[in-house]
């Protein structure tokens, strides 16, 4: 079938603001959305710019807004986006961060927030000779959160992030959850004050856009709620 692919283009060197370009692209129902962009770049317009790498949903390069919703381009198929021949698919950069060019956003702020939550295991007791023990039940608490690929689809789908760019956002706070609830971690006294602040947890209004956008289907809101409860109990 033939599809109309609308792409939000922005060329900083032209001095012009972003605009929509439309391309006619042949596609099969089982093609990924990324393959449409690759077709444009390789055969129609080499100037189209987007990030890509593994092309099967694990590296997290190609999160973007597809048909008005944040998705990983490589993990969503044409058949799930359109009904048939001549339909339109739209691609835009993730909303809420500065655009560098076309579908490429500046992720500086996104990764600053990640760094801010101390995303590493904190445990000052000398480690044992062998691995630290962790029961399967304790592991299960954080397993869902360890699936995160830091693609940014969640943070850039959050109305709180759009409104306030300083909001830490779901991705960073999920990292905070992942380490704080790791049975091997002893750093919650340092990490919790960061997420328990005006930039943190309390701007999560359980909107669920992040859960909807997450390509790894992580129930982010569930884990952020657990982090909220922990922050409250840690205070009193």
């Amino acid at each position: 079938m033939k599809l109309n692919v609308k792409v939000r283009r922005y060329d900083p060197e032209s001095g012009k603001p972003p605009y929509w370009a439309t391309y006619e692209v042949p596609a099969e129902p089982m093609d990924s959305a990324l393959s449409l962009l690759l077709h444009i770049k390789w055969h129609l317009d080499g100037t189209l710019t987007f990030r890509k790498s593994c092309a099967h949903g694990i590296c997290g390069s190609d999160a973007m807004q597809i048909n008005g919703e944040n998705k990983l381009a490589c993990s969503v198929l044409v058949q799930d986006l359109v009904k048939g021949d001549g339909d339109t698919i739209s691609f835009a950069p993730l909303p809420g961060s500065p655009v560098i060019k076309d579908l490429v956003i500046d992720q500086t702020r996104f990764f600053e927030k990640y760094r801010a939550v101390m995303p590493w295991l904190i445990n000052d007791t000398p480690p044992p000779e062998r691995e630290r023990l962790q029961s399967p039940e304790e592991h299960a608490i954080i397993e869902d959160a360890t699936k995160c690929i830091m693609c940014g689809a969640c943070t850039h789908s959050c109305p709180s992030t759009w409104a306030d760019p300083d909001y830490l956002g779901p991705a960073a706070m999920l990292k905070a959850y992942r380490y704080t609830f790791d049975s091997r971690d002893a750093g919650s006294a340092q990490r919790l004050p960061i997420v328990d602040s005006k930039d943190g947890l309390w701007k999560c209004y359980t909107i669920f856009n992040c859960v909807q956008a997450c390509p790894k289907e992580i129930d982010i809101t569930r884990w952020l709620s657990a982090l909220k409860r922990k922050a409250v109990t840690a205070q009193y």
Partner: protein, 161 residues
């Protein structure tokens, strides 16, 4: 690089917001019931008055239960106006303390819940810190004024009756 998350905890306010919210559901149900559905005490009834009627001072008509209760309390000559219906509850000292307590609690919870929520919205959409501070001071000042007005009204109601 900007430093994130350096101010004090907001956990208590967040927690209270949910607690007050939950309580407000029950307080509201009671409030609604008493004001609208309890035939004896409802001051707002399912009746419509035209603007001419309101200008002429026409008052809503109350149910026979309400009229009977008012007359039983304040004597057979008592008029049955909205004010009297309210005073029915507040004139009895024991009952009044209960109701006043209820209303004071309701007032405080509603103001905290409402204005905390409002502040969330303001701080979401106002980006600079000064703007946020101004909005916060103004909105909480308003809440304080309302608290004073409300407390005064609830506490003094019925004193002169």
């Amino acid at each position: 690089m900007r430093t994130y998350g350096t101010n004090r905890s907001n956990a208590l306010n967040w927690f209270l917001h949910r607690i007050t919210g939950t309580f407000l559901i029950f307080l509201l149900i009671t409030h609604f019931w008493v004001q609208h559905y309890d035939a004896q005490t409802a001051t707002v009834v399912a009746q419509t008055l035209s603007s001419e009627q309101i200008e002429q001072g026409v008052l809503p008509e109350y149910s026979s239960e309400a009229r009977a209760a008012v007359k039983a309390k304040f004597g057979p000559d008592a008029t049955v106006t909205p004010y009297d219906v309210v005073m029915l509850r507040l004139a009895d000292p024991v009952y009044a303390v209960l109701w006043k307590g209820f209303n004071i609690l309701f007032l405080i919870f509603a103001l905290h819940h409402g204005f905390y929520g409002l502040n969330n919205i303001l701080s979401d959409y106002i980006r600079n810190d000064m703007g946020r501070l101004v909005a916060r001071v103004l909105s909480w000042s308003l809440a304080l004024v309302l608290l004073v007005v409300g407390l005064y009204a609830v506490i003094t109601a019925g004193w002169t009756y």
